[in-house]
Every structure is written in structure tokens, then in C-alpha cells.
């Protein structure tokens, strides 16, 4: 009997040791802070960051190994036999699989987590539960690393759920507040809806392939490259599996959790939105892309395109700085999901997006942080001036006050809007090119993707410009308010340098130079290819697509300028929103529709079921028990039951029958005066009668 899992395969033991060590660092951080967090000395913040730093260095080394030393197709695998059931034909294997993509993601996750750690040191300063914060961050990045390194669906699912759970902890970090409490629960449960599908998919795969290892699956998947040859169960499995990705990557119809997830601390938001959590869904799609049948891919693309477009629409009217960015994330993820037609570009966009979106969130974090300071100082002075630190309507003019932040914002915003020379242009362009090419080939409904994609690109440029104009230009509304109230000595201050350090790194990665130094206008020239995947895109289309997306981006910026360039009050309070703006603002009332038509009725139904269980199911039992006992109104032990019975089920057949039995029982009472000896007389009489019967009838 084997009581411990054993290693089945370890192709590159030395390399794997480094990978495991890198993976272990965040876990170590988690364990240390959970158990000794309160006892650690003052430098504990640096300890968390230091562990992540070591992990980043190690993963950087692994990255160099894979992209420099090893062959492009090489991959390191470590497989563990987790369980063995029955004849052992079912492979419950867990494991790590490092190839070029995984090494890249591994490094990315570590790097961004490290940056967020450094940023958080300032942002979260003075929080009494800081030790828990570091612990949760450690667990979160550990689970995310698990996802990107997992060798099979089963391993991935385990870490997948752990990511969900640690995000629950992080989003609900400020658990005393109402918002985070609701948001964390919502995030987890919506993700679980997707996970149900994911799990069913895994089970189907496991039953048919007897394993969930990607290496085996992809080999098998290549059997069905001809269209229409894929078996039905695999299509079904594909539909189930993508549910998980749709939930985790916040795609239609499960995107509702992401805007609410903003309730967590801002650095956490930046982490969730950039390299972790939401990236997991896209990464998973990238991994299983060869297994997805055309129908599944089609569904994904339609959903992705719709999400990209609708979320961008919502982002155009939000007034909360983090909500704008949240819808922006949903929209960008829509691009990636739409890009499943060209998975390598999805992956590319995931990588570039991670940097600039993280940067945007940190920018927002800097602003919110300084506003928090103002709020704090006001409170200390005892002045009452309530305002929402995330509301862009109290910002404005920050260009003067925080010039550094403004510069960073310009870089990240340009990358998001898809301006040439910035990273976002390269990757978004590739996706648009991919769907455009597909539309040209297949026609019909496939044109929906490039059209929606282009429109979303335009809207992206529009909302990010709007954000920039309202936040950084014009005059500061908060200072105006302060002046109005006659409060002096309080100013918006620039953030400490420590917060800008991570942003600088992110900004560097938002230029083309990191990604495709040789070809600033064409993502196809990136050094990432062909390791991410063979590039089949038609070159001749490239110019058309690049130009149209550039036009869309510039158009969006121009539109924003026209609308907000002069009249910055267009989005100020007081101005009532019209029907469409309301619709977009509330994200098409999706939340409310779900609450009204799904969650609400469901909870109502559960309540009814609870009533049914208590009164009908249990009532029937009590009724039956009562027939059997058939007596005893006074008897203490049953009085509760009887009182209940009388009170609740007065009517009905049950009771009528009960009445008859009760009368019978009362008749029986008359012969039962409670005298022991009388009972004995009855017994003796009965025995005598029996004997008589035996002698005279049975014997004869």
C-alpha cells in the first residue's frame, strides 16, 4: 500500500528545483506571516517584498534558461501520482509543466507581485492587519503561479480555486465595511458558477482521456484538426471548460463580479486586474485552445467581442476612477477572449496588458492615496467635508499637483488606447488582425468581431482620454471646495518616491521596445513569436487593420477632447444622466437583472423549500408518528410535537385520519386505567385464550 504520492516523471530536475523554490517563496511568505506575522520585527514589510524579490530573480533565471539556453520546444515536466484508484488506468496526476510561455508568465506574475508589494508598503502603511495582508498576497501569488505552471487541468483547477479563495480574502480585506463583504462573496460565488462548468469539463476529459495532463491532451487534440471531426463529447467538454474561463476572466455573462471587486485595497485591484486572477482564464484558454471545437471557439469569440464592446461602453460614463479601470479590464479581456482565434496574440495582449493595466491602477492608487491623506487630515482637524476618494468629479488639475503621476498616466493610457510605439498597439493590433482575417475568410457573422473590436478600440481611447482630461486637466475641485469652506493648510501632496519606483518599471514595459524592439509597428515581429504559437496572419491585411485601429484610437481621443476638452463639467454632479448614460452606467442593469430574476427567485425558492421541509415533509412524519402513538395529549414529551401539529396542519386528509385514530385511542384508554395488576389479568386472560385456541382448534 502506497500511502504517499510519488514522482512519476521529472525531466529537468535541476531546473525544476529552481522553479519549485521560486514557487515556494510566496508560500513561505504566506506561512511566515500567518503564523508569526504579529511577532515579526519592524522590517517585516521588506521581508515579504524580499521573498518575492528572490522569487522574481529565480523566475528570471528560469526565463533566461528557457528563452536562451533550451530549445524552443523544450519543456520541463514534473509529474506526481496524487492518488491511485482501482486498476490505475485513471491518472490522478498533478504536476508542473514549464515551457517558454509558462516561464514567461511565471516571471511576469512574480515581477508584478513584487512591484505591487513595494507599492503596497506605502499604500497600506499603518493598517493594523498588515501582516494578514502580506500573508494573503503571498497565498494569492502562490496560487497564481500554480495556475501558470500547472501541467494539467486537475492541477490547474486546484490552484484555480485557491486563487478564487485568496481573492475572496483580499477583496474582503476590510471586512468591517459593507462593500468589501458583499463584493468578496459575490466574486467567489460568481467564480464558482464558472467552476461548476470547469469541473464538469475536467471530469468529461478525465473519463475519456484517462488523464488531464496537457501534454497528452494536446497530442490527442491534434487528431481532430479537420473541421467537423471532433467528437460531440469533446465539444461538450469544451463548452463546460470555457465556463471557468468566462467567470474568472469576467466575460459575458459572468463579468458582474469584477467591478465590485474594486472594494479591495487598490494594490490588490491592480494585481487582480493585471497579471493574476483574470489572466488565469485567458491563460487557460490559451492552454486548451487546440482542444476547443470550432463551435466553442465561435461562442468564445462572440462573447468576447460583445464583452469588449459593452464593457467599453460602460467605462465611458463611470465616475469612480477604479470602476472605469475595472470596466476597461473587462473590455480588454474581451479582446483577449475574442482573440482565441489567434491564441498567440491573446497571450501577447495578456502580457502587455498586464503591465499597463497594473500601471493604471497604481496611478489611481497614488491619487486615491493622497486623497486619503487629505481625508485623514480633515478628520484630525475636525472638519466635516465628506467626499469619495475615488470619485473623479472631485479630482481635476492634478497635472500641476502630481506631474510625475501625470507622465506615467500618459504612458499607460497611450498603451491602453493603442497608440503606435506603445505595447498595447502591438498586441491589440494582432488580435484585430486575426479576427479581421477570419471574417474575410468565413464572412457572415464573423464580421461582427472586427466591427465590435474596432468600436471597442475607439471607445477605449475615448474613455481613457476622458479619464485623463477630467482628472489631470482643468482645476482641482477638491481644493476649490476646501477654499469655499475656508479650510487652510491642507493640500494634495505628491506621493512618496517608493510608489513611483514600481510604476517606472511598468512604464518601461509599456513601450514597444521591450516587446518588439525591431518592429515598432507590427506585433508579428516580436521576439515572443513563434514560441507562443505559429503565426499564420496574412501580412497584406496588416496595414489596413493597423491604420483603422489607429484611426479608431485617434478618433476616440478626439471625441473625448471635443466633449471634455473645454467643458470639463460635463460629467460633474448635478448633470442628470440620460437614458443611455444610465444604461451604460449601470452596465445594462445586468446586476439588477441577475438579482431580480435569478438570485432573488432562487433564494425565495429556497425559503419555500425550507418551509416545505419543515411543514410538509416533517409534518408527514410527525403525523405518522402521531398515528402510531395515537394518544397522549398531556404527555410532556410529545406535547411540543402535538402543539406544533395542531397549530400548523389543521386541515387536510392527514388530520381527518388522525381524528379517527385519536378517537380509537381514547376508546382504548378506557380499558387502560393504569393499574399494573389489571394489565396482568389481561395478559393471563390472553394466554388462557391462546391456550384454549391451541387445544380446541389448532390441535383438532
Amino acid at each position: 500500500m502506497k500511502l504517499l504520492p510519488h514522482i512519476l516523471q521529472n525531466t529537468h530536475p535541476d531546473l525544476m528545483r529552481v522553479v519549485l523554490l521560486a514557487m515556494g517563496m510566496p508560500l513561505l511568505s504566506f506561512l511566515v506571516f500567518v503564523f508569526f506575522g504579529k511577532k515579526l520585527p519592524k522590517g517585516r514589510d521588506w521581508m515579504a517584498a524580499g521573498l518575492l524579490g528572490v522569487a522574481t530573480l529565480l523566475s528570471g533565471w528560469v526565463l533566461i534558461q528557457f528563452w536562451g539556453e533550451l530549445n524552443p520546444q523544450d519543456s520541463a515536466r514534473l509529474t506526481l501520482n496524487w492518488m491511485q484508484i482501482g486498476d490505475g488506468s485513471m491518472g490522478f496526476t498533478l504536476g508542473l509543466w514549464v515551457d517558454r510561455t509558462a516561464a514567461l508568465m511565471h516571471f511576469l506574475v512574480n515581477l508584478i507581485t513584487l512591484l505591487v508589494h513595494i507599492f503596497s508598503q506605502e499604500y497600506m502603511k499603518g493598517d493594523p492587519r498588515l501582516d494578514k495582508y502580506w500573508a494573503y498576497l503571498g497565498l494569492f501569488s502562490f496560487s497564481m503561479l500554480g495556475i501558470v505552471l500547472s501541467s494539467g487541468l486537475l492541477t490547474m483547477f486546484i490552484f484555480w480555486e485557491l486563487v478564487g479563495f485568496s481573492s475572496y480574502l483580499l477583496i474582503g480585506f476590510w471586512h468591517q465595511k459593507k462593500g468589501p463583504a458583499a463584493a468578496s462573496m459575490k466574486a467567489f460565488i460568481v467564480n464558482r458558477i464558472g467552476d461548476v462548468g470547469f469541473l464538469i469539463g475536467i471530469l468529461i476529459v478525465l473519463v475519456h482521456f484517462r488523464t488531464t495532463e496537457f501534454a497528452v491532451l494536446l497530442e490527442a487534440g491534434s487528431l481532430w484538426t479537420e473541421p467537423g471531426t471532433m467528437p460531440a463529447w469533446l465539444t461538450l467538454a469544451g463548452f463546460c471548460l470555457i465556463c471557468g474561463a468566462l467567470a474568472k476572466s469576467a466575460q459575458l455573462p459572468l463579468q458582474i463580479w469584477l467591478p465590485d471587486a474594486m472594494e479591495g485595497p487598490t494594490p490588490v485591484s491592480s494585481l487582480i486586474h493585471a497579471a493574476t486572477m483574470v489572466a488565469a482564464g485567458v491563460f487557460m484558454l490559451f492552454r486548451i485552445a487546440p482542444l476547443l471545437s470550432p463551435e466553442v471557439k465561435m461562442t468564445l469569440m462572440i462573447l468576447g467581442a460583445l464583452t469588449a464592446f459593452l464593457a467599453a461602453l460602460s467605462a465611458t460614463v463611470q465616475t469612480d476612477i477604479k470602476r472605469i479601470l475595472a470596466y476597461s479590464t473587462i473590455s480588454q479581456l474581451g479582446f483577449m477572449v475574442m482573440g482565441i482565434a489567434v491564441p498567440e496574440y491573446s497571450m501577447f495582449h495578456l502580457l502587455t496588458h498586464a503591465f499597463f493595466k497594473c500601471g493604471l491602477f497604481l496611478t489611481a492608487g497614488v491619487i486615491i492615496h493622497s486623497l486619503h491623506h487629505v481625508q485623514h487630515e480633515l478628520k484630525e482637524k475636525g472638519e466635516a467635508l465628506p467626499f469619495d476618494v475615488q470619485d473623479i468629479r472631485i479630482m481635476g488639475g492634478l497635472r500641476r499637483i502630481m506631474p510625475k503621476t501625470f507622465v506615467f498616466f500618459l504612458v499607460f493610457g497611450a498603451a491602453l488606447a493603442g497608440i503606435p510605439l506603445f505595447s498595447g498597439f502591438l498586441s491589440k493590433d494582432g488580435i484585430l488582425l486575426g479576427v479581421w482575417a477570419m471574417a474575410e475568410k468565413s464572412g457572415g457573422i464573423y464580421w461582427m468581431m472586427p466591427v465590435l473590436g474596432m468600436s471597442a478600440a475607439l471607445l477605449t481611447a475615448y474613455y481613457i482620454s476622458r479619464l485623463g482630461l477630467l482628472v489631470f486637466f482643468g482645476e482641482n475641485h477638491l481644493e476649490g471646495k476646501l477654499k469655499e469652506k475656508g479650510i487652510e493648510g491642507i493640500h494634495l501632496a505628491s506621493a512618496p518616491l517608493k510608489m513611483y519606483l514600481p510604476m517606472a518599471v511598468l512604464a518601461l514595459a509599456s513601450f514597444w521596445i521591450i516587446w518588439a524592439p525591431g518592429s515598432p509597428f507590427d506585433g508579428a515581429g516580436s521576439w515572443l513569436f513563434p514560441a507562443l504559437g505559429e503565426n499564420h496572419l496574412p501580412h497584406e491585411l496588416h496595414l489596413v487593420v493597423a491604420l483603422s485601429s489607429l484611426v479608431a484610437a485617434l478618433g476616440g481621443i478626439a471625441l473625448a477632447w471635443v466633449r471634455f476638452g473645454k467643458n470639463r463639467n460635463a460629467a460633474l454632479p448635478g448633470g442628470k444622466r440620460g437614458f443611455w448614460a444610465n444604461l451604460f452606467f449601470n452596465h445594462f442593469y445586468l446586476d439588477r437583472v441577475y438579482a431580480r430574476f435569478i438570485a432573488g427567485p432562487f433564494v425565495w425558492f429556497c425559503r419555500q423549500l425550507g418551509w416545505f421541509d419543515k411543514n410538509i415533509v416533517d409534518g408527514a412524519v410527525n403525523g405518522a408518528a402521531w398515528f402510531a402513538a395515537g394518544k397522549d395529549r398531556q404527555e410532556q414529551s410529545l406535547s411540543g410535537a402535538l402543539g406544533w401539529f395542531d397549530a400548523r396542519i389543521i386541515d387536510g386528509i392527514v388530520n381527518r385520519v388522525a381524528g379517527v385514530v385519536m378517537r380509537l385511542g381514547q376508546a382504548a384508554l378506557k380499558v387502560q386505567p393504569g393499574k399494573v395488576q389489571l394489565l396482568l389479568v389481561f395478559t393471563v386472560a390472553a394466554v388462557l385464550l391462546l391456550l384454549l385456541y391451541l387445544f380446541y382448534f389448532a390441535a383438532g
Binding site: D632, L669, Q672, P673, G674, K675, V676, Q677, L680, V684
Partner: protein
Amino acid sequence: MIPTSWYIIIGIFLFCLGVFAVITRRNTVIALIGIELMLNAANLNFVAFGRMQVNPFEGQMAALFVIVLAAAEVAVGLAIVLNVYKRYRTVNLDEIDTLSDE
């Protein structure tokens, strides 16, 4: 040798005596004695019938078993009687009728 029927007749007599005591006497202790009588009637029958067998010990074994049981039963019964007396201040069976529901 005394015929088996004699034993049986005595057994019947003893048994009836026991039943009579249990049913009619008001005192709980007497009723208990009645039970003992019945048990011993049964014992007598065991031994008597056992005598007719090839292996007489089977009947005697059963009788011994009954004696042991009877001892236990008396111990428990008397304990109950004592407790009943403590609670109701009487051992009159007619007055102890809380089993009734009226």
C-alpha cells in the same frame, strides 16, 4: 421413582399460586414473591422434564440459569419498590397508577 406428572401438578399449583398472588395482592412485595413462585414452578418443570432426557443436565442448566436471573430480577425489583416507596410513600399497587393517562 416418582412419576413426572406429580412434579408437573405441583408445578401447576405453584404457578397458579404465583399468578394469584401477583394479580390479587395489593402489596408490591407480595406480588414480587408471586413472581418468584412462578419462576420456581418453571424451574421445577425444567428439572422434571430434564430427568426424562438422556442428558439430564440440560434441564438443570436451564434451572440454574433461571435461578441466577431470578436473583437479579429480585434485586432490581426490590430496588424499584424502594424507589417507588420513596416517591409515593406507599407500596400499594392500586395507588400507583401514573401509567394511566387520565
